[in-house]
C-alpha cells in the first residue's frame, strides 16, 4: 500500500512533500520527487485521504502504486 509519483507529469512544486505526514516523499537535487513505498501508508491512520494526491495540481500525476504498476487498482 503506497502512493506513486509519475515523474513525467510532476512539476516539482513541493506541495506533496510538505503535506506528507510520514516523511515518505523526498526529492533529489534535480527536483525529482519520489515516494518511498516502504514508508508511505496512503495517510491511513492520519487523514481521510492521501494528502499528496489531494494537493497535487496535476491530474494523474500521483496514483496508487498498484495503478502505476498494473494499470488498475
Amino acid at each position: 500500500m503506497a502512493m506513486y509519483i509519475r515523474q513525467e507529469n510532476c512539476i516539482s512544486c513541493y506541495a506533496c512533500e510538505q503535506e506528507c505526514p510520514t516523511g515518505a516523499i523526498s526529492h533529489d537535487e534535480e527536483g525529482i520527487f519520489t515516494i518511498d513505498p516502504y514508508v508511505c501508508v496512503e495517510c491511513n491512520g492520519f487523514y481521510e485521504e492521501a494528502q499528496c494526491l489531494a494537493i497535487c495540481p496535476i491530474e494523474g500525476c500521483i496514483v496508487k502504486l498498484e495503478v502505476a504498476t498494473y494499470g488498475c487498482a
Binding site: 512544486c13 510538505q18 503535506e19 489531494a54
Partner: protein
C-alpha cells in the same frame, strides 16, 4: 468630502484620501503608488512553488521564459539563493525598494520557505520593504507572523462575492487536510479570503485586493466586490484582465478575456466606490525592475551564485535621496495633472513613451509599452498601459518590422497623438496617415508637463491664437 474622501482620479496617485501615516508607507512602493512606479522598482523572488487551490484560469504545468503573466517562473530559488539575488539586485538596481513573494504557487502554502526568506532579507537588508501576495486561504493562520515580520503590505486575490460565482473560478481547494470541490470549496475560500482581509486590516496591514476579471464569469459582481472590499478596509483594488493560458480549464471552456473596452467600463463602474490600481503590469512571480520592464534574465541563478555582494544601505540611501530630489523637482509638474484648465476643450487620449522617472524619454521604435492618458480641461488622468512589441532592434534592420508596426498602430488607433522622445520617418508617415499625431517636441519633459503643453498647443490651439 467629495473627491478627497476617495480620490477622484485627478490626484497623482489617487491615494490622497489616505491618512498621512499610511501614505508614507505606500509612497515609495511602485505597485501601490501610481506616481512611485515611475521611479522605484520591485522584485519578486520565486521561492513558493506549492499551491493549495486550483484556479480555472491557471495551469501550473505551463512555464516558459517568454511568457509574461503571474504565476509563471523560470527557476525556483531556495530562501538562501533568494536572499543572494535580492542583495545583488539591491546593489545593481538601487531604486529597487520592495521585495515581494508572489509564487509561482501561493506563498502561504509554502510557509517555511516564505518566512525563512523574509527573515533572511529582514536581517541582511532591513531597508527593503517586504510584501506578499496570496489567495487568502491561509491568511488568517499566518497574519500574526506577517505582522511580526513587519510586512505591512499584503495583496489578496479575491475574484467573487457569491459562492456561485466563486465555484466557476476555483475547481478545488486543499484545506484542513482535505480536498474540497464545487460550492463547498467556493464557500470556504470566500470566507477565508474576507476573514483574512479583515484580520490584516485589524492589525494595520495595508491590503490591496487583486481581482481577475473574466466578463462572462464575474463581470456582474465586480462593482459589488469593489464596494465590499472598500467597506472592509482594503485601500486599493486592482482589476486585472484574465490572461488566456495554455491548457487551462477556461481555455478548454472557451472563456474569453475582456476587451480593453470592457475593462475600461468595469473600472469606471468601480471607481466611484474604490481607488483602483491602473498601472499593474501583471508581472511574473520572478520579475525584476521597474514595473514596465523585467530584468530577471540578468539575475539568473547561475549568474548570482558566485557573486560576492557587499550590501551597502548607505549607498542605497544616497541613491534614494537623489531620486527624491528628482521627484521633488517634478512635483510642480505633477500638480499640473490635477489642475483644471481655464479653457474648455474636448477629451483626448494620448499615448506616451517612457522608460521611467516620469519623463518622455523613450523612442517610439524601442518602446515595450505606451502609457495612455486621458487629457481634458478637467486635468490629466492615467488610464492604463498598452504592451507592444518594439519593432526596432537597434542596429539590425527592421525585419518583419511592418507587421509589428501595423500591430502597434492598431493598438494606439484610438489615441489622438503619440508623445515620444523620437519617432522615426517610417512609422511617422504611417501614424499620420491614420490620423495619429506624432509629437517629439516635448522630449525629456516630465509627462504631466508634456501632456499639458500638448493639450494647450494642439487641442486648445492656444499658441496659434496667441501667435
Amino acid at each position: 468630502m467629495g473627491c478627497s474622501s476617495k480620490g477622484c482620479g485627478t490626484s497623482i496617485d489617487g491615494l490622497s484620501y489616505l491618512p498621512e501615516n499610511i501614505r508614507e508607507k505606500v509612497e515609495n512602493h511602485p505597485c501601490y503608488s501610481q506616481e512611485a512606479h515611475h521611479f522605484y522598482a520591485r522584485m519578486h523572488v520565486a521561492v513558493a512553488p506549492a499551491c493549495n487551490i486550483q484556479c480555472n484560469y491557471c495551469n501550473r504545468k505551463y512555464d516558459c521564459a517568454n511568457e509574461s503573466r503571474p504565476g509563471v517562473v523560470s527557476e525556483l530559488l531556495t530562501p538562501e539563493e533568494a536572499v543572494k539575488k535580492v542583495l545583488a539586485v539591491a546593489m545593481e538596481i538601487p531604486q529597487m525598494t520592495v521585495v515581494g513573494i508572489a509564487g509561482p504557487g501561493d506563498p502561504l502554502a509554502n510557509p517555511d520557505r516564505t518566512f525563512r526568506t523574509f527573515e533572511l532579507i529582514k536581517e541582511k537588508a532591513p531597508d527593503i520593504k517586504l510584501c506578499l501576495s496570496t489567495n487568502g486561504l491561509r491568511l488568517t493562520d499566518f497574519v500574526d507572523r506577517i505582522k511580526d515580520l513587519g510586512i505591512d503590505h499584503v495583496t489578496i486575490t479575491i475574484n467573487a462575492v457569491t459562492p456561485e460565482t466563486a465555484s466557476k473560478i476555483y475547481s478545488w481547494i486543499f484545506y484542513n487536510h482535505k480536498r474540497y470541490k464545487g460550492i463547498e470549496a467556493a464557500r470556504i475560500i470566500l470566507e477565508k479570503q474576507y476573514e483574512g482581509l479583515q484580520a490584516c486590516v485589524e492589525r494595520g496591514i495595508l491590503v490591496k485586493v487583486n481581482t481577475v476579471f473574466a466578463p462572462e464569469i464575474n463581470g456582474e459582481e465586480l462593482e459589488e466586490l469593489s464596494k465590499k472590499v472598500r467597506r472592509m478596509g482594503a485601500f486599493l483594488h486592482n482589476i486585472m484582465p484574465y490572461v488566456e493560458g495554455e491548457g487551462t480549464v477556461y481555455q478548454k471552456l472557451g472563456v474569453r478575456p475582456p476587451t480593453p473596452q470592457e475593462l475600461k467600463e468595469v473600472q469606471e463602474k468601480c471607481e466611484p466606490h474604490m481607488s483602483l490600481m491602473r498601472h499593474c503590469r501583471q508581472c511574473r512571480a520572478d520579475a525584476v525592475g521597474l514595473l514596465g520592464e523585467d530584468r530577471g534574465q540578468e539575475f539568473t541563478k547561475d549568474k548570482i551564485i558566485h557573486l560576492q555582494v557587499n550590501y551597502s544601505a548607505e549607498y542605497r540611501k544616497s541613491i534614494h535621496e537623489e531620486i527624491e530630489k528628482e521627484r521633488a523637482k517634478l512635483k510642480k509638474a505633477r500638480e499640473l495633472m490635477a489642475l483644471p484648465l481655464e479653457e474648455e476643450g474636448k477629451k483626448v487620449l494620448v499615448a506616451v513613451a517612457s522608460k521611467g522617472n516620469m519623463l518622455v524619454n523613450e523612442h517610439f521604435g524601442t518602446a515595450h509599452e505606451f502609457l495612455i492618458y486621458e487629457v481634458s480641461s478637467q486635468g490629466i488622468k492615467f488610464i492604463h498601459h498598452r504592451k507592444v512589441t518594439p519593432y526596432c532592434h537597434g542596429s539590425i534592420a527592421c525585419l518583419e518590422g511592418g507587421d509589428i508596426l501595423e500591430d502597434t498602430i492598431s493598438k494606439l488607433s484610438d489615441c489622438e497623438a503619440i508623445i515620444a522622445a523620437k519617432i522615426g520617418f517610417e512609422p511617422r508617415d504611417l501614424l499620420e496617415q491614420k490620423g495619429i499625431k506624432c509629437v517629439e517636441e516635448f522630449a525629456y519633459l516630465p509627462i504631466p508637463e508634456a501632456l499639458t503643453k500638448y493639450y494647450e498647443k494642439y487641442v486648445l490651439e492656444k499658441v496659434k491664437t496667441e501667435g
